[in-house]
Subunit: 159 residues, 6 copies
């Protein structure tokens, strides 16, 4: 509930209230970064991702980037300063154009699957089965995940 409240609406819109935050890290271990990603998503980040970078003194490092709305800025700073080794956090505004999202359900021989459809310019541009549901079917049925996706794609109507 509170989680959903942070999420963008499902209609097509242009969001001018987003930020990208960035931190360069060369003195932290991968173990801590794996944990950190979960914390940032739980706190409301829209996306978090790591890029390998080459830093001074022959150090392999990581560029942490995250996307969040401007009113999450302080919460993200708090996590980044306390959980990582950085002493400086940089950020800048950006615009996000989001397609409309609608959800429908299709039936497969292994049960129903939610399809997230993306609509742009009045046209269906994406039809993506929900990953977690497909994964659950794969594990329950003991079949390859790709086979679940293939089955779903066969059931989808043209667009």
């Amino acid at each position: 509930m509170t989680r959903n409240a942070k999420h963008p609406p499902n209609n097509e819109h242009i969001d001018n209230e987003m930020l990208k935050m960035e931190v360069n890290l060369d003195d932290i271990s991968g173990e801590i970064l794996g944990h950190l990603m979960d914390l940032l998503f739980d706190a409301g980040a829209n996306d978090v991702y790591y890029t390998p970078i080459f830093m001074k003194k022959n150090r392999p490092g990581i560029l942490l980037q995250l996307l969040c709305s401007q009113n999450e800025l302080d919460k993200m700073k708090q996590i980044l300063f306390t959980e990582t080794t950085t002493l400086g956090i940089r950020y800048y505004p950006l615009t996000v154009h989001r397609a409309e999202r609608i959800f429908r359900t299709i039936s497969t021989k292994w049960g129903s699957v939610t399809i997230k459809e993306g609509i742009y310019g009045g046209q269906v541009i994406q039809s993506s089965p929900e990953y977690e549901e497909c994964k659950k079917i794969a594990l329950d049925q003991q079949i390859p995940l790709k086979k679940v996706y293939e089955e779903v794609w066969k059931q989808l109507n043209d667009y």
Copy 2:
């Protein structure tokens, strides 16, 4: 014709005559590496790929790896020594287990498409439409490539 002669057979088999060759490069430009990849494939390499690596003295470098049969070794050495800046080429043998490959054709509303099927343990494990044919349809029909793939997947029978 001569190209095909170099290619592995289509039945399932274990190939013990393969090599991986490797070169580390820190004093060559990306332009030349793009050209080199084509040359190596044309000369019969089974695969060629580049991995970004961090080398001494803060140098971003590239690890070139290629797979070829042992009787292509000298030809590959010749290309690597003359086209790159390396003075040392390393290699070691490896085994490749290849699934059986069969080809069949399906019809779509935009024409026929070749499907490469992989068979392992008597089971169809893959059904991949040929990329170049799908790309041609996408360009000819002015439609997204992913839409061509989706259409193809709908036409495939279960396996």
Copy 3:
């Protein structure tokens, strides 16, 4: 012709009308991304490049970035929404300082080659032979591409 119209002028200038667009992708294959890059360049992108990133749930992903002028924004959005699996495209303005570009021709023993010179602060800062011309010579003459570049560099006058 229309292509050239989109390109920046050759004199030194500061361009404040540029955008960077970005999309994170974890549910698309490399095959489609190879094709997409061509489409985006053909549609007028100034540059397109992919960065490997680490995304949630142990997913290797790709950050697509492209540079274009602001009046190409809608065309790029159309391609990104229809050809990729994204439902959100982000972008932000940036400034580009471009050096002056002039073109001259030099002679080599294998024919003439165009040199693109960059001029900054009244000084020649770059002299780059055109890649496609050098590559053509390499293929025609059956010689290493690096040898063509070396020959060209020997013919260039000091700067």
Copy 4:
């Protein structure tokens, strides 16, 4: 129980029965690769990791590598062929020198933590707190994970 049976013994030893397996992937999504990693670990792989690579036709791809003992080879092949899009799996033997591992428990103000010590040449070379235990403390105590590690390091005796 069955899981442990696959694991190497804790004394220092040189293991000559290990394999590295490799697959290049350019037509699969990151979503499926995230799922695959779990499957391979569950089936007994000693390690699994992905490296971003540059493949032909401008395709960003992934090199999957896994380490397993030779008697796990068939099980790994089965998973790789059915869960990925590959039609060829390569592998080669390698030697692993493993340090002795011993486990001891230390007390912190937030409870006890298991320490895995590595011993090589009769000398303690590593003292690593168990990640999952530290993470649990961090979540339970609502404190940064790095703070848990720091506390643990303070409690460790010299070596």
Copy 5:
């Protein structure tokens, strides 16, 4: 002295005068990039880092990014244009939130080590020993660098 003058102050502050500069490079060698990083730091860049990227025509490339204050812009342009092969440099403003930094000294059995502490919201969030001092101890004492860090962490007071 002049070097310090370029550095940000040690108190906690938000700096709105920073820039990120970027250049894409596909026709330069790693050797030159290793040298360039030193030049940019010496000229006052706050950070410089390289990211491997996939560019057109199958070229592995490098994205150079640097952070500097706006009044260093011209100096950085001069270096980038003359030392690299680029004809276009892009940049955009960003904000940096820096934690307070204080320095204190602790004693170890191998001598004293400076600790850089970061303070955010009145709380010590980091305690990092100075790398160069720890490295010197490791080399002088012929001990592993990680052992020096471990010794330092044991000496630090709680925070």
Copy 6:
């Protein structure tokens, strides 16, 4: 002197006594890895390089690879076990084909520069100026490093 003793001879030869060693690291910082690379080179490694990898539990990690002759194996193990956090080191033999190397000196307007030439099949395949000498000229003369290389290339005779 002892350093040179470890180095391969300058004539063309095939070396069957080489090893590749590998370690996966997800619980160590970039700072320590920068230091480690120097230690390994100083101890006689022929090459050392880092590759960014994606490991379990969303951890960005590093694959350390090094090349050494078989009689350096124990020395390298000692460093890897004591300086990194690994408890397992893997390795396998490989073959290296090295081109002949000869050294000659050319004159430039800024002084002489050593050229390392590679010879393969009786043909000069490389002519590389020594990086450290070129860098010294660039710093002494206050000119771009690429300009030094360009000057050198102009002085080289055809091959």
